[in-house]
């Protein structure tokens, strides 16, 4: 018998299993919670429901009550309340849980429905999975394994439609493979707010198309490729380059802004092939920007720094340079470093008694998943105590210090000083120790360059605009001549007489947990994949630059509160 649930929850019965779900949950999501898979194509948890693929048909029933007295009608055979089943199947995606709803997904009728829908979908779909780029991650392929008949009864000719339409600079469309689920259309309209896709010539020749003269070129276009349940939409960057089943998936974080979209890095044999979004309902839902998907190209860039010397030799020469300039050293930290690196940068600055600067990076926010703060981890620098106020884009105080001779050496942790307003003449006046991944004018002018790793070659954490601590893992190994940031920073700190700190991420986290009250409750290992919201109150007085984005509303400004 169905038990009464909490007020906002309703109890539903799915294939005999009872579960309490929030009112309004649809049948597909409710079934997923009890481990029952309801196959579907057009339904997407983050898009509106249209119910046009008909794959998620289920049987529905409600407990029987006497129409007059409302007393439950009992079934004498089982001693339980009778269930009145609706004779025809209903779609699960557009059916919302209500108290006492009974759902059957495994009956002969439902199996028959799924087989029928599959057969219709395959009528005009090319049966050439071996040459299709989507094979291995295609929903139609998966469901056809379960509900297809293995051979086709269709002896007529299949429809011929355009095979290689360029919808935009990054998305290619094969109309023959399209099963008309309209996910991409809804995504463009509802999430990207760029309504350019639609079905024309509706009927047997329904064709997905972009309005003539327009292109699918918004910065979120590649999400349509991710949500396409078949091989109709493919990415120009990835299509026909690699079979997806060869790829290793590593959880990572998008570093292009302080939104910190959760991502998956797909790599094989140390080479990254693509980046896709990872679902996090509190941060990025299931989306990410196109621009963040190309960041992996930095790993193999031509101007990547590498050294022939060992790390020990590099640290020794760096220590020499810094000892010469003792008492006149500045540290330029980075909002692109991980929390752990920023902690070590602070320890290094303490050891050489240096003043710490940070470089802000700003750009226009798009209101979706790119914020106006283009550093992924400025808040990490606040939490680790590297800085105590928000950074500016230009290092004018540092420039003044160099001109007046107060500063004779600068340790730059991954920042290009010239782009932050230091002139080449000023660079010439100082000795620079540069930690960095790519060559730039600062590394050119530096006395010692320690080549370090990109976000894909190391593990760590970032704190995003919501003060959510999120971790990223190492996707590919570093190439020879590049050194782990944590290792390099902790060795230099020790060489300069500072505390001896572990360079291993997990050991370092034990120190972080002890020293930083904000991080006292977690470690790298126990940090959930969806991140951990930290207490932001110590920094509530700061005026962060971010505007509103998906799942983020900036705290009201003082003027706004007064008004």
């Amino acid at each position: 018998m169905i038990q009464p649930a909490k007020p906002d929850l309703v109890t539903v019965n799915i294939d005999g299993k009872e579960i309490a779900v929030p009112k309004g949950t649809n049948v597909i999501d409710a079934a997923r919670q009890v481990g029952v898979d309801v196959p579907h194509y057009c339904y997407h948890p983050k898009l509106s429901v249209v119910g046009n693929c008909r794959m998620c048909l289920v049987e529905l029933g409600m407990p029987a009550v006497d129409p007059v007295s409302k007393a439950p009608i009992m079934d004498p055979a089982t001693g339980r309340q009778k269930v009145n089943w609706i004779p025809r199947p209903q779609i699960g995606c557009a059916t919302y849980a209500s108290q006492g709803l009974h759902i059957r997904t495994q009956t002969a009728q439902i199996k028959d429905c799924r087989e029928g829908v599959t057969e219709f979908l395959l009528i005009n779909h090319p049966l050439d999975c071996p040459i299709c780029d989507k094979a291995g991650e295609c929903m139609l392929q998966e469901q056809s394994t379960g509900y297809g008949r293995g051979y086709s009864r269709f002896i007529e000719n299949k429809n011929v439609k355009p095979k290689r339409t360029l919808l935009g600079p990054r998305v290619v469309l094969d109309d023959e493979r399209c099963i008309l689920c309209s996910r991409c259309i809804r995504f463009c309209k509802e999430v990207a707010k760029d309504d350019v896709l639609g079905f024309i010539d509706r009927g047997s020749y329904s064709t997905l198309t972009c309005y003539p003269g327009k292109a699918l070129e918004n910065n979120y276009s590649l999400n349509t490729v991710d949500i396409c349940p078949v091989g109709a939409l493919t990415s120009t960057d990835f299509r026909f380059k690699m079979r997806v089943w060869f790829l290793k998936q590593t959880n990572s974080i998008d570093t292009e802004s302080s939104v910190g979209a959760n991502t998956v890095v797909w790599s094989r044999e140390g080479v990254i092939h693509r980046i896709t979004p990872r679902r996090n309902d509190e941060v990025n839902d299931t989306w990410m920007a196109d621009s963040g998907r190309l960041l992996y190209k930095a790993v193999g860039a031509e101007n990547r720094l590498a050294s022939k010397e060992t790390l020990d030799a590099l640290i020794a020469s760096a220590a020499d340079v810094l000892t010469d300039a003792e008492g006149a050293i500045a540290v330029v930290g980075s909002g692109r470093s991980s929390v752990e690196e920023q902690f070590l940068t602070r320890k290094l600055a303490d050891a050489v008694k240096a003043r710490v600067f940070l470089v802000a990076r700003s750009g226009a926010g798009d209101g979706i998943l790119i914020s106006s703060d283009r550093n992924p981890n400025v808040r990490g620098a606040l939490i680790t105590g590297l800085i105590d106020k928000l950074p500016s884009e230009r290092l004018d105080t540092l420039a003044g210090g160099i001109d007046s001779g107060e500063i004779k050496a600068v340790i730059s942790v991954g920042e290009d000083l010239t782009s932050a307003g230091i002139t080449p003449e000023q660079l010439g006046k100082i000795s620079i120790v540069h930690f960095g991944t790519h060559a730039n004018s600062t590394s050119d002018a530096a006395k010692v360059v320690v080549p370090t790793l990109t976000v894909f070659e190391k593990a760590g954490t970032f704190v995003n605009q919501q003060f959510r601590l999120q971790k990223f893992a190492k996707a590919v190994p570093a190439k020879p001549g590049m050194h782990d940031d944590l290792d390099a920073l902790s060795r230099l700190t020790a060489a300069m007489g500072g505390a001896s700190l572990p360079s291993d991420l997990h050991e370092l986290w034990e120190v972080l947990t002890k020293e930083l009250p904000a991080l006292a409750t977690t470690t790298y290992r126990t940090l959930p994949e969806t991140g951990l919201l930290l207490d932001a109150t110590p920094w509530s007085g700061l005026r962060f630059p971010e505007g509103e984005t998906l799942h983020f509303k900036p705290a009201a400004s003082e003027e706004g509160v007064k008004a």
């Binding site: 309504d195 350019v196 896709l197 639609g198 079905f199 024309i200 509706r202 309005y211 003269g213």
Partner: protein, 163 residues
């Protein structure tokens, strides 16, 4: 968009008939086709702007209904019935006559811009087959001779208009 003032007046009149603006897409397209004869890309974009939609939304509607014309049409639209009764009574021959007289092909605008000849399905006058509809006017028992006569009338009107 170069619409007649009365078309514009009717468009503004019809929009508030609907609870949401987008519902007026079909009536607007009908009014524009009545006025201009066909739905151009410019017309699609004009309707979209008028109804606060994106052009693709209107384009979807236009491509769904075969009777929205996406190509220009002649001054007059000659619709020849080809359903069973008319086909048996010589509708195809009638159509050929029209094509020959105006030196044009099915669905195209004749070189003089006067007519577009097309087959249509039943015009509901099987007793007087073959029938032809020229714009909104029904002509019955149109054999080749009568077709020639009708063509003559159209040509005469055309030359009159030119002088």
């Amino acid at each position: 968009m170069n619409l007649k003032p009365e078309t514009l007046a009717r468009i503004d009149e019809v929009i508030p008939h609907y609870a949401s603006k987008r519902s007026a897409t079909l009536p607007l397209l009908h009014l524009i086709q009545e006025d201009v004869g066909w739905i151009s890309k410019e017309a699609i974009e004009w309707v979209a702007a008028k109804l606060e939609l994106q052009p693709i939304n209107v384009y979807e509607v236009v491509t769904f209904y075969p009777m929205f014309r996406q190509k220009p049409i002649g001054r007059r639209h000659i619709k020849v019935c080809r359903t069973l009764s008319c086909a048996l009574m010589g509708g195809y021959k009638t159509c050929e006559t029209f094509e020959k007289e105006f030196d044009t092909k099915m669905g195209e605008v004749s070189p003089d811009g006067e007519v577009t000849v097309e087959f249509v399905e039943c015009l509901a006058s099987c007793g007087t087959a073959p029938v032809v509809m020229i714009d909104d006017e029904l002509h019955e028992n149109v054999d080749s001779a009568k077709a020639k006569h009708l063509c003559g009338q159209i040509k005469a009107e055309a030359s009159q208009r030119k002088t």
